[in-house]
Assembly symmetry: C2
DNA sequence: CATCGACCTTGATCTGGATCAATGCTGGGT
DNA sequence: ACCCAGCATTGATCCAGATCAAGGTCGATG
């Protein structure tokens, strides 16, 4: 995934509210919709011809932080593939918003709505500047109906999203705020070398949101973590002494484990 | 953890007709695995040959209330199709359980785990005596890899499950306990003739569970609903006067609407 | 009919975490 | 350097809903 040159970024659409439809011209050469599709690991078994077809009318958008990609209740016009950046899906009721999912690349935004031709159940807002491939919904569905390999790939993608959602629900309902933070930090820390300071991957308020608590609560819990031998200053986390942390917070693979998008295969290897 | 009939705790296989296993025996008056598949609306575009193949090694089980169908973290051996009854999916952490989803017929139990060959993220317990078609996981995945129509059908099924999960999360996070109960009752009541008493579709503790609150809270909230012109005695709900209820609780199609399993079709009609 | 076991209800109490309200910190623009 | 806007911290307060603890109701069973 090369960095897109700003030159070609004309596909950029800016729509702080409302759908980001753009009567943009056909695809441009380099970081193109086509190459983004080609660079998507979980699409690697899809025939090139199908990817060509998907990319044909598709556009690659660069969308700045804060933009709204679509509104809750809107009927999908596009299948949107997040190529870089991050997007928050927010359930909306009146004025209140709640985080449903935090989407990271490379993934589809709410494919379920596109497949079923049903309204989106959430609003999508860009958190970190994002690059997206927009594929006409009709084209996407036609391709699914035609190409079995694509169908299997999307099935795998959706299955993974479903499992992530279940894990989310479980951590929220089975653990206290402190446990959620503890496990989150433990997860961060233990995939780095021991003793090496780690930095938080995003702004604290977003992490708090993701963990289902108010920013104030997150802040308080963070300082409280000193109790378990963990020091936080700014966005840097240091773990002079890991054991107490591990003793207090047990990671559960059925909640915390990563949930990668797998290519579908009927049998093991 | 009350279970009425702990005696016959686990399922007994009910081969369609004869006692032997591999009965791909054609239409029998008694419900067979094959006829259950054939009677599943969202499989209606799947070729008969594929259904035959799925049914070939499958068995139809009758499982009493209280039984556990599978455990969290178990690796799926079967794709399980719920044909009648109801099943609760419970997230488990240590001794605590939380309801993830309440599955009603005709639907697959956690297809995502079966597809991705990953451990179940929940325990499945039968609430109301259930009939299930058990299809060998390998057979199921092979069929998916072979039959495009089946793949599309399962995609639709999974998409719907995903959307239900989102709706669940939204009602839990965006509404108070009273609102959840109000909307639940409103939903029940308004699909019946006005003025006609309605009965709760299941034991109160299960409803409370489904709505994400303690049974005591549910009970209290129920009596509190008199305030909105709604009278409950036992499991019978009477609505002498609907308007106040509707005024207080607004159903949101993005939360409360039904979410039926749709057959996939790329274009409208 | 008396007993028992499952539910449900009702009351009293507790508490995790949200909310409200300042106050600090930091980095970017003129 | 200064100011201002966003974010983070800290403290005080509040409250929805859980939890604990008795009863109450109803149907099945001996």
């Amino acid at each position: 995934m090369g960095q897109p040159s700003l030159m070609e970024a004309n596909a950029f659409t800016e729509a702080p509210d409302g759908p980001s439809a753009a009567g943009s011209t056909a695809n441009f050469p380099l970081p193109s919709a086509r190459s983004a599709l080609g660079g998507t690991p979980w699409l690697d078994r899809v025939p090139a011809a199908t990817l060509d077809r998907l990319a044909d009318l598709a556009v690659l958008h660069r969308v700045p932080s804060g933009s709204t990609l679509f509104e809750q209740a809107e009927i999908p016009s596009f299948a949107q593939l997040l190529v870089s950046g991050s997007v928050a899906l927010l359930g909306v009721s009146g004025t209140a918003e709640t985080l449903i999912e935090l989407v990271r690349p490379i993934d589809l935004l709410l494919p379920a709505a596109v497949l079923n031709r049903q309204p989106f159940l959430a609003r999508a807002r860009v958190l970190e500047e994002a690059h997206l491939v927009l594929i006409q919904a009709e084209v996407f569905r036609d391709a699914l109906a035609t190409d079995h390999a694509l169908c299997l790939a999307v099935l795998g993608c959706l299955a993974t999203q479903f499992r992530r959602q279940i894990k989310l629900a479980k951590t929220l309902k089975l653990r206290s705020a402190e446990e959620r933070v503890g496990c989150y930090l433990l997860g961060l820390v233990q995939e780095a070398a021991p003793g090496v300071p780690v930095r938080l991957p995003m702004e604290k308020r977003f992490i708090a949101w993701q963990l289902g608590m108010a920013r104030e609560t997150f802040s308080r819990v963070l300082t409280g973590m000193e109790r378990y031998g963990l020091h936080i200053s700014g966005d840097v986390v240091e773990v002079p002494d890991a054991p107490p942390l591990r003793a207090r917070f047990r990671l559960d693979p059925q909640i915390d484990g990563p949930e990668p998008i797998l290519p579908f295969s009927p049998r093991r290897y």
